[in-house]
Symmetry: D2
Subunit: 437 residues, 4 copies
Amino acid sequence: MKTAFFGDIAPIRFEGPDSSNPLAYRWYQPDRVVLGKRMEDHLRFAVCYWHSFCLTGSDPFGQATFDRPWQGGDGLAGARLKADVAFDAFELLGVPFFTFHDRDVAPEGADFAESLRNFQVMADVLAGKIEESGVRLLWGTANLFSHPRFMAGAATNPDPQVFAYAAATVKNCLDVTRRLGGRNYVLWGGREGYETLLNTDLRRELDQLGRFLSLVVDYKHKIGFDGTILIEPKPKEPTKHQYDFDTATVYGFLKRYGLEQEVKVNIEANHAMLAGHTFEHEIALANALGIFGSLDVNRGDGLLGWDTDQFPNNVEDVALPLYHVLQGGGFVNGGLNFDAKIRRQSIDPVDLLYAHVGGIDICARALLVAAEMIESGRLAGHVADRYAGWETPEGQALLKGELSLADIAADVERRNTEPRAQSGRQEYLENMVARYL
Amino acid sequence: MKTAFFGDIAPIRFEGPDSSNPLAYRWYQPDRVVLGKRMEDHLRFAVCYWHSFCLTGSDPFGQATFDRPWQGGDGLAGARLKADVAFDAFELLGVPFFTFHDRDVAPEGADFAESLRNFQVMADVLAGKIEESGVRLLWGTANLFSHPRFMAGAATNPDPQVFAYAAATVKNCLDVTRRLGGRNYVLWGGREGYETLLNTDLRRELDQLGRFLSLVVDYKHKIGFDGTILIEPKPKEPTKHQYDFDTATVYGFLKRYGLEQEVKVNIEANHAMLAGHTFEHEIALANALGIFGSLDVNRGDGLLGWDTDQFPNNVEDVALPLYHVLQGGGFVNGGLNFDAKIRRQSIDPVDLLYAHVGGIDICARALLVAAEMIESGRLAGHVADRYAGWETPEGQALLKGELSLADIAADVERRNTEPRAQSGRQEYLENMVARYL
Amino acid sequence: MKTAFFGDIAPIRFEGPDSSNPLAYRWYQPDRVVLGKRMEDHLRFAVCYWHSFCLTGSDPFGQATFDRPWQGGDGLAGARLKADVAFDAFELLGVPFFTFHDRDVAPEGADFAESLRNFQVMADVLAGKIEESGVRLLWGTANLFSHPRFMAGAATNPDPQVFAYAAATVKNCLDVTRRLGGRNYVLWGGREGYETLLNTDLRRELDQLGRFLSLVVDYKHKIGFDGTILIEPKPKEPTKHQYDFDTATVYGFLKRYGLEQEVKVNIEANHAMLAGHTFEHEIALANALGIFGSLDVNRGDGLLGWDTDQFPNNVEDVALPLYHVLQGGGFVNGGLNFDAKIRRQSIDPVDLLYAHVGGIDICARALLVAAEMIESGRLAGHVADRYAGWETPEGQALLKGELSLADIAADVERRNTEPRAQSGRQEYLENMVARYL
Amino acid sequence: MKTAFFGDIAPIRFEGPDSSNPLAYRWYQPDRVVLGKRMEDHLRFAVCYWHSFCLTGSDPFGQATFDRPWQGGDGLAGARLKADVAFDAFELLGVPFFTFHDRDVAPEGADFAESLRNFQVMADVLAGKIEESGVRLLWGTANLFSHPRFMAGAATNPDPQVFAYAAATVKNCLDVTRRLGGRNYVLWGGREGYETLLNTDLRRELDQLGRFLSLVVDYKHKIGFDGTILIEPKPKEPTKHQYDFDTATVYGFLKRYGLEQEVKVNIEANHAMLAGHTFEHEIALANALGIFGSLDVNRGDGLLGWDTDQFPNNVEDVALPLYHVLQGGGFVNGGLNFDAKIRRQSIDPVDLLYAHVGGIDICARALLVAAEMIESGRLAGHVADRYAGWETPEGQALLKGELSLADIAADVERRNTEPRAQSGRQEYLENMVARYL
């Protein structure tokens, strides 16, 4: 350990399901082979700099509660200490990846130039730590939402100078992400939306956003970044309406600007919930549309209307999403980023570890469940049987467009018979899933 | 009047804002010219057969409360009586349009052939009444959700025979809609979705739906139907998830299947709310994406989680949506359909009239407000000023893609200045709108 | 089996966790002793007549999908067949209890007198079947919401004649419940609320409801009914606002009318969710207020805004509620009623059994988890430690009111020290719970 | 003006409905007599220190955007400047009242003693300004939620020392409120609730809260404070669950601890919405229960799940609440506090004025509407007619408990007739209300 932040806690190790050690894994064994691949390679866990090392426990009604020694004092010294603590955490947890915003790792400077210098200094620091620790960068992203300059959006700002500022920021962040070996680059449009339609030109803002994304994609190719560009959908919060509402909306946007082959989605559980969807719905849809990229794993609270970003702690909540990830072929560049924050009252450093240990173990156990569901093939088999009629020549003729509407109608009128109803078997299937849990 | 259903109520007339007659219009004057067009031609009101003449006041916890003499007895006789009462209502209200589902106007028969015969008999009846009354058909649609055969979807059913049955049904309904001079044909996918992902093949169902819509579009052209094909988005209810979630989702779907030039949206206020949007958002977005078609005007209850389909009764709720309709050029084939039902305790025939009189007057008053907002130009002017920077050569260079990300970044680094923040003026603009109300 | 409804399905038996038989229990062993009591006596499962034998699969947008032979034909003959099938189901499932509304078991007659005769005939039938089968009545209740006469409420109706009608109905239902050995009598105020405040006198309606409940309590004592009177809270649906919103509201109502020693609550999971609460919150609060009675176990869908009444299928969703039940001393007269319905597409008789088998097993497994949490004492111990300061003399002095506000302030000013913050340990505790699951 | 903060803006004056001056009142005329009372005396507007002079435009995803010169630098100097600007605003707006938290007006010190000294210094300052300006204090309150010491609650903290600290704080704040002539003292339990039941002893926390409130009430009497003690209900945010969930919950709590004659409610529009209620519901219920006190007027966004605290801008949203206030006899000690904040992008000082001018005008116009509804008596008359049966001897006999359940049943059985249904006339009444708007 580089720092004393976590005291004398030893690295978290696998001790098996019977362990009562709150700082041991009961399910997560990186090297255990599941469906022919190491658990670590399936899950590709990442710890999130933002939530774990930048937040202070403040909320809209209360001040900071966490004691984070790197927050005060000189910016770069603080950033270095923060990086040391972060890598201490990564190593204690034994995770293979981390993720960051530019502003998480380096302080805002007095002007653009100083901010950039700060970021480049810290990029050097991080490069060294990556080299040293073997912990890799799952994705980088630029914070285009915290500073007042972005209050009315970044790419969708009414002021083209803010667009330019944001573009320059992303350019540099993409450079650093590439240099640090990042596997993906994420765009989350926290302020790309509106507070009121009364002052908003919707069409214009969508075109600005389309242009911005095209610029990013072009630049990615120019510099030979071989990672994936990801959009992270969210319907609202902080803004009243965000343009990247959900996976379906992002897909339509990508099609509109001809980018559906270039950009994929980073789906977050809590964002899916805020958009009125389950996490697994968003994954299944992204698979269906060919734009599945990566996951921000966390949990929301269905009774609260904001992004609570809690650590996952229910196996079923994660098992069905992972089942869909596996059905889609698993992660390529993506992974499981803990976009999750400890509660405001969890003020001890060890709380950060408890939270991650719990989250990692839930996901590991969920992977085992999902793998068993895949291996048994019963669920997929049931689904295939249900649609078997579509694989017959008659079904295929309908689907392929070999018959016109009038042809079909003539045939129905001729036969004049009622289709036979079949049970949807929802409770049976839910019981089947419960069996694996 | 053909029937005694409404007793001796006289046709509803305009009496002006000071009238205290609950069966008079205070704002709706069909011939009043607003922004160069008759009020009637702006608003294109339609009364909805389904809500007003088919519902019985039942709800998930209670039986029918309305006395509707046409519901019992012989199917076709009941259908004829229902048509007589419906046209009595249209004439009492003085509305120019109505809308229907096939099953609203004609009873389900013992088999497909009989159902079709029933529908054709009633199409003749309706043709006569249209001729006689001058009331026109805004749109027709097929009920592909009430009968048990559609319990697992129509186009998206796991059974291709149900797909075929639905296709044949739409073919006939489109034929009748064309014959009756319908200006649009609507598809509402009430069961095109899923109850549980566990028994669902999402990708397959989307492809089925794409095929179905393509068949309909091809057939429209084949028969020379010159109305508009409309999809009505709804996110959920009755199903857990519906594929036509909202305008953005429908747009992505249309793009995926190459139908974005062929199909537009019929936006409903309450459906927008259930999807997490305002009514005006959906309209503004449809305008921006070029797929605005028609409106189902009603109101939901933000504290209840289902489609309450209440009559509109707040001017502001309608004025902003109409402002966006006017900004987009107004209705072409579309109009304002009252997709609204009287409450279960509103058991007297006159309650149907009160409801429509109130709704029509709110919309008429809202049109005057929206027109004043358009005419003053202050709101639009404020928006244009806010984005003025994008009209400069520098702004246009960014938007048109004349500069690469690296070019933009180089320029930002060189200038190294902070963009100047400007107030969003939300409260000022809200006050401005309140002024028109 | 009295009927052929379920075909040749054999009674459901315990086969252990490894069984793959979808019609066997994996966890539910009635005689297994948990915390010193038989599982059956802890859980006191009841099957619900209403959901399982009266519903038809209709929803607000669709017709009946279930084939229920008792629905057509002569009322009492149908009611007898329904009772035979219901008791076949109770016996197949091996549950100790059932629950009913008066209208579930006997058809509405042409007038009050005939309805009452029907009910009394069926009470005789049920008495015989209870005797024969050993299946007991957990609670009875009167349906005061389905018939149009109750459209504006029962006790809270603006018409005192409806109040009287409802009172007479409850009198007879309480008589039958007593005669059949019911352990509780439930009042669910589905229409005791309002659709609009515009036509409602809130204070008057509350007083009516208070009078009604007092009448019922007096009558209970008069006839020597030794069961518990229960109110079932629900915030809305079918009405916009229901007076028995949640446990806290019911408590205030009981206090207002002096009934807090006489009446307890029957808490439903899905109703809790609609009111913005977790199921365990409502149970913990009822325990704290001394009004915990019984449970309607089911699950809602946090993404849908209505009462979905699904069968429970997630162990955690039930384990925490049962933990609070056990902490409160367990059920006395209450039990676990499956206020849950199979989905509309679950059209086969066997789907009714799958649903109950799954629900029963989830609850049995949850009981084991809750019992382990109780036995280990770790969770309760953590809570006790957290509040230990209140057990000191200083803490007790504050709590008992021995010091005035001025005394306390003087002491704080004198000491002038900052209290010491302690971690809330939420993630640690969540992990601890996950460990038991 | 004491400061240059608002530049050379002149005091806001009434200019009548046709004024297009955005800094003039179109409806608010303090001296206009409505229902026999001056408008100012009806509405009793208060500007809120917290929202208008303490917030900075930060949100959970973004930094401060407002330039508030008093925020930096020395605490007390800043507090003095803030007070000068606040009173400048009060005078520009011409409002009769303001409201504050202790921490809004005076900075937290290094320890309890210093915080108290700061507060007392500022109390002197405020006393002078009140004297000078004639602007009065509607209510004071203590901030028991922002400082980390209150992260686990104030009165409901697991640590009795925090309870004591909070008690001492309230004692001093009540002293100052009394000294400054405050008409009410408010308790908002922002952290009196829980984040997770896993670490919470619900019953114990309720007893702590009951004790706390009793101490406050006793002290109020001891010092002869003749204002009203108010609880402000809120269901959640910042905590997951707050004990003062809504009016009904607060009523039950007051009854439990024998305080229902001593304490009333301060109802906020946005809090009502978060609890699943309309604003008018909460007011009507508080009237019915005899605990109506004061209002926090603002508006929420039904599509966002958090407290948006926007300024009211829809007449109907305020007219119905004011109708219920007037029906209950109007405000006694209470008033209309703008618990509302300008949007984050409203960065200019003048935006604060626009917001209040709009809010004040909406409320003034709503008062005129509500007064017209009262004067016409049509709505109240309709309600009285609907319940007329309860005023008959038969109705009264039922309500007064002169008949037992058995008596009533015997009578119903004897008569054996069906009550006659009457239309609820919801749409008619909604149209009637729309007429006044």
